[in-house]
Point group: C2
Chain length 253, copies 2
């Protein structure tokens, strides 16, 4: 890996397929800097993008980080969060860009690799079971507590909002288990499940959505940024025990 | 190539080395929307990034485009320029992101490939000749004319500013000719040449910088965004005739 020129040089991965995701996080739009730190903003920018790879069963390889706006000391704090997230998720930051801007915008683009073909949104079939990697709503609950000024009472919920973790191992396990479709809960469970159903041309009725302790059912259904993975698989597949199956299946055409 | 999910799926290139560049263009900072169109802004965002690859002797493969801000109709105009540039430069736009923002920021990240090892800034050696792909200063002159309201008198200079073209074929030819170091003129000739000299640990004296018709010597030396390539090569190399050699070499330690 060569870093320091206008473009980074990296070794081409051995796997047949690469994935490429890009996400921007805008201060004041995606993160209220009165409630979360610049370091958390940097962390989140990386997490959001890496989570797109987790939702395909892919692993991140390299990232480039483009920061527009911010004073030098603010950018430094932001990079602290970027570096912490990159180390935690196993992605190498190999370059990026730094520009002036009246608004602080952090763009992260990640390349990833996949031992098999990545899981898309569009492969769910009638009869599939629908699974989720864990309870939902923690991030929305954490944000509400921060807004109420009572974040100190529930540090786990606040952490779920401020320092989300993409579920790379879970996404890979789901892909290996034969996931037919997968998505990460970024917009909110109902919205994201609808993306999968629309892309796959199927429908379903769901109940028994697991709700995180301290979250409401509304947090779980509509709150975004949980980054839990929702995925579908043929009903005869023996799914690893750490996943939660939703109450009603199958998807119906 | 699969497009439409949160991440794009692309075939891994056959070449051993990949390059990765990311650049953001900010409305009001890098482009004055009173002088250039949104379509030109989109074109420039792609061109700036692809030029980083040209300066390594690499070829672009895939791009992701993240747009923050802008109304829907503005974003549509912007994408027209993105698409036109992508088609012209031979890069496939495979995904991206669209977010709200008070400031319009366009980030383009491009992956590229290289048949050999990419040319870095840091390889210039004492005795090398310094070459440039063409005359400099057209972009700065075009911007000045636009500001004066007299752009119609010099459409070629205005085009050099509004619709710059990364010199992909020239960069590849320089790499094949044995370029020891290379950079694109984005900040300005003197600044960019200094980047090469600093990275390579050498010095030089330059004269005979080719000035574009209609540009001043100041445009040529300090004006940015020409995207001509400045490169160094051993003095005994037979350089293709379309390159201009600078007056005084060699770089000196």
């Amino acid at each position: 890996v060569w870093i320091g020129d206008d473009a980074a040089v990296v070794a081409t991965p051995a796997q047949a397929w690469m994935v490429l995701a890009s996400d921007s996080v805008v201060a004041g739009v995606h993160s209220d800097l009165a409630l979360t730190s610049l370091s958390d903003l940097g962390w989140k920018a990386v997490a959001v993008c890496v989570s797109d790879l987790a939702a395909m069963g892919a692993r991140p390889a390299h990232a480039v980080v483009a920061v527009s706006g911010g004073r030098a000391d603010e950018v430094e704090l932001l990079y602290e969060g970027v570096a912490a997230a990159a180390e935690t998720f196993g992605v190498a930051v190999v370059g990026g860009d730094l520009t002036e801007s009246p608004t602080l915008v952090v763009n992260v683009t990640v390349t990833g690799t996949c031992a098999g073909y990545p899981v898309l949104r569009s492969g769910a079939r009638p009869g599939d079971g629908i699974w989720v990697t864990g309870p939902l709503g923690a991030s929305a609950a954490g944000l509400r507590l921060l807004r109420d000024g009572s974040g100190a009472q529930a540090p786990l919920l606040v952490a779920a909002h401020a320092r989300p973790r993409p579920l790379l191992a879970e996404g890979e396990a789901a892909r290996r288990a034969g996931a037919t479709a997968m998505i990460d809960v970024s917009d909110g469970f109902t919205a994201d499940l609808a993306h999968v159903l629309d892309a796959s041309g199927v429908g379903c009725v769901v109940d028994g959505v697991p709700v995180a302790p301290g979250a409401t059912i509304s947090d779980a259904l509509s709150g975004g940024e949980d980054f839990e993975l929702v995925w579908c698989v043929r009903p005869d597949v023996d799914v690893p025990g750490r996943f939660a199956q939703l109450g009603l299946r199958p998807p119906m055409r």
